[in-house]
């Protein structure tokens, strides 16, 4: 299946070894979107590199930015003010919902249901409007700065987010009626692309794919960052680890993110939005690894600084790339038609896979 295939998200080439209709083995050829982000980082200052981070997982740019900024703040041993942390949490959770909506739309389209795509995009539009109002850009937002936020929350911020969360509840029910107990949807997804818990851990898979296989691991709970420790929310966990479980886990995650946003909206603490960080950042030599829970899985930043203005090395742990390794195990023994469903269910974004 060539790189410009209609159902591979972006430019992913999959070489399938077939026995008639069944897939025996598969091999993903990637690298079509490789831009050498990590090499570029080595001759950019810390602030200059921040916009590059958004271009990786262009579907969830805000959470990339959050990961990078918090990693550098850890390096500088600086703490973002509480107000900044809460606004960051709200924006990341909104971005998570938007990313899951895009996943649901394209996944359903691959399996044949035409309508959910337009419902999901209608909601995603609302979120992008809020992001645009806040930081001027819809997709590659560059919303955060090292040490806090650049812009104060616009005046109607609370009202917009609240209005969105209010009617999103009924919208999720809309998707569920369309898909969840639809016999054909279940037929196409149940028992397809099974990934057992041991395999998931062995492959180092993270995020909804890991939780669907029954492993209860979410960085927001395990190593809370930003303002996640102040809010109550559950972590949905699946049982068999097939496409249908991943679908349920992600739908539940959307609901939880909505709850987080609602809790966060009640009390956004007043105060400054930017910590005292100089114009020129010269972090002390040393290294740091900071991971956050991106919509696709654990997004980690390993930054080594040699005391100068530019980082010595920035290593990014992309969740999509690692989840993709489990693709071969999942696709074995299935029919060619299921390959499309499996690519959809891992929810990979090629920008992040190729970096």
């Amino acid at each position: 299946m060539g790189p410009q295939h209609p159902s591979t998200h972006g430019v992913l080439r999959v070489v399938l070894k077939l026995d008639g209709e069944r897939v025996i083995g598969s091999e993903c050829v990637i690298g079509y979107l490789h831009r050498g982000v990590e090499k570029i980082a080595e001759n950019r200052t810390y602030q200059q590199f921040a916009p590059y981070v958004d271009r990786m997982d262009y579907v969830a740019a805000v959470s990339n930015g959050l990961g990078y900024c918090e990693a550098i703040e850890k390096l500088l041993i600086v703490e973002a003010p509480p107000r900044a942390r809460v606004i960051r949490t709200i924006l990341t959770e909104l971005q998570r919902i938007a990313s899951h909506l895009l996943w649901l739309g394209t996944h359903a389209l691959d399996i044949g249901a035409l309508t959910p795509l337009f419902y999901c995009f209608r909601e995603r539009e609302e979120i992008l409007k809020i992001l645009e109002k806040y930081c001027g850009a819809r997709l590659t937002t560059h919303a955060f700065r090292i040490g806090g936020l650049q812009y104060e929350a616009h005046d109607t911020f609370e009202k917009d987010v609240e209005r969105f969360c209010k009617d999103f509840e009924s919208r999720i029910v809309e998707y569920e009626t369309l898909l969840t107990n639809n016999r054909i949807w279940i037929g196409r997804t149940k028992g397809v692309g099974i990934l057992t818990a041991e395999d998931a851990i062995a492959f180092g898979v993270t995020g909804p794919v890991l939780r669907a296989s029954g492993v209860k691991w979410d960085i927001r709970k395990a190593m809370p960052y930003a303002a996640y420790d102040q809010y109550k929310f559950e972590i949905p966990v699946g049982t068999t680890g097939d496409t249908y479980d991943r679908y349920l886990v992600r739908m539940e995650e959307m609901r939880q993110s909505r709850l987080i946003c609602l809790q966060a909206i009640e009390n956004i603490p007043p105060g400054p939005i930017m910590a005292k960080v100089g114009k020129v950042l010269k972090p002390p030599p040393g290294e740091v690894y900071h991971a956050i829970e991106a919509p696709k899985g654990e997004l980690g930043y390993y930054v080594v600084s040699d005391g100068t203005v530019q980082p010595y090395r920035v290593r990014i742990r992309p969740p999509s790339f690692i989840n993709l390794q489990a693709f071969d195990r999942m696709v074995r023994g299935h029919l060619v038609a299921d390959v499309v469903a499996i690519i959809g269910t891992i929810d990979i974004v090629l920008g992040e896979v190729d970096r």
């Binding site: 399996i111 309508t115 898909l179 054909i184 037929g187 074995r332 023994g333």
Partner: protein
Amino acid sequence: MQAAAQATLDFLKLYWAPLLCGVVIVAVLPLIVGYIVLVERKLMADMQARLGPMRVGPHGLLQPIADAVKLLIKEDIIPDDADKVVFWLAPVFSVGAALLAIAGLAFGPAFQIAQDLNIGLLFVVGISALGIFGIVLGGWASNSHYSLMGALRSSAQLVSYETAAGMALVCGLLFAGTLNIKSIVAAQVTQGVWFGFLAPVAFFTYLVASIAETNRAPFDLPEAESELVAGYMTEFSGFRWSLYFLAEYVNMIVVASVATTLFLGGWLRPFANVRWLNFLDLLPPLLMIGVAGYCVLRMPKQPTRVQQMFMLAVAGLCLVVALVLAAPVLLPFVKPSLKDAVAPFYAGIHGGFWFIFKVSVYIYFFMWLRFTIPRYRFDQLMRLGWHFLIPLSIINVLVVGAALIVGSYFNLQGWALLLATTPAAIVTLVAALVILSLDQKNQARQESTAATDFYAG
């Protein structure tokens, strides 16, 4: 020479009506198909919270003409080593089969091309079964591995669902007792109840089988399959592709009208012979007046002058149709002497209206399915066809036959016949559940064996 001229003259005198209908159908059908496509796109858009084609003409009403022109002038690529003759023949074959099937149909008591064809329904089903050649040869001629695989898949699907559709029709025909379309509808008048209620399971099976037969909705696997891209139609472009497109929609009309004739009482008004429900006759004209009113109301909101004019024209058209529909109903009240003169006229027009109304409801259901339900995988599709639909329809034929014998024993008629057929339907449904559970069990067994052997392999 004179004898030949005389022979052709009386030939024309004898058969001018069907010839005229034939020419009208073949000319008007592409236009109708164009507007069905427009309605489908509008409906899809409406269900997906968007507007659909709005650019060409007011509310996109001229979109089909734009599509037709585009398809005509688009360049007609023929793959280099495809064999030309078969490549040209395949779409012609499938359109020909679809249009020929239209000839057997009756769109109202007066409007039928092949007048008293006493194998009416069988003729329509048989000829529309020829469409398979168009698909198979099309796949073969375009000489690419993918389209050949797509063609084989879609024809395998067509062949297997034809048996199920055939069985469902047989069950419907048990009640009608004849194949001639006019007498089928007449039988539904004497019975007083539509066969769709007498044989609900047959109607359901036919509905599902006809969706699969026209390659639509959850079964539109061949052209939507991810790696076959457009199945057998990939290599065709421009006019040739539009022929296939036309054949698919004409097939949809044929299948819909077969279902309406047999299960939904053809051109009968609902509750045809219930005297006190006669006011239903006024329904068609009222409907048309409603549409006209809606157009007039929306007229001021149109942005440009020409669109307002267009809306007025549409409203006028609806009013004229309403008048034509109302005339035969109201005239007898005005002048009772006209009653008998108007009767055939009345039957023809109202019959035609009801028939077209039912066909469009049936097609609406097709479209509605297409937008909401995801697609079946190919093996699930074949399993549904072979393991579930065909046994169900065979059992249904047996059970309904038995019910008919019981019915005739107690000589139940019309609504009373329901006493015999509803238990029959229940028995068939129970049998269906048994088949399903059996299917689930051996499917699970199959799945486990399949899983083990590929690990071993």
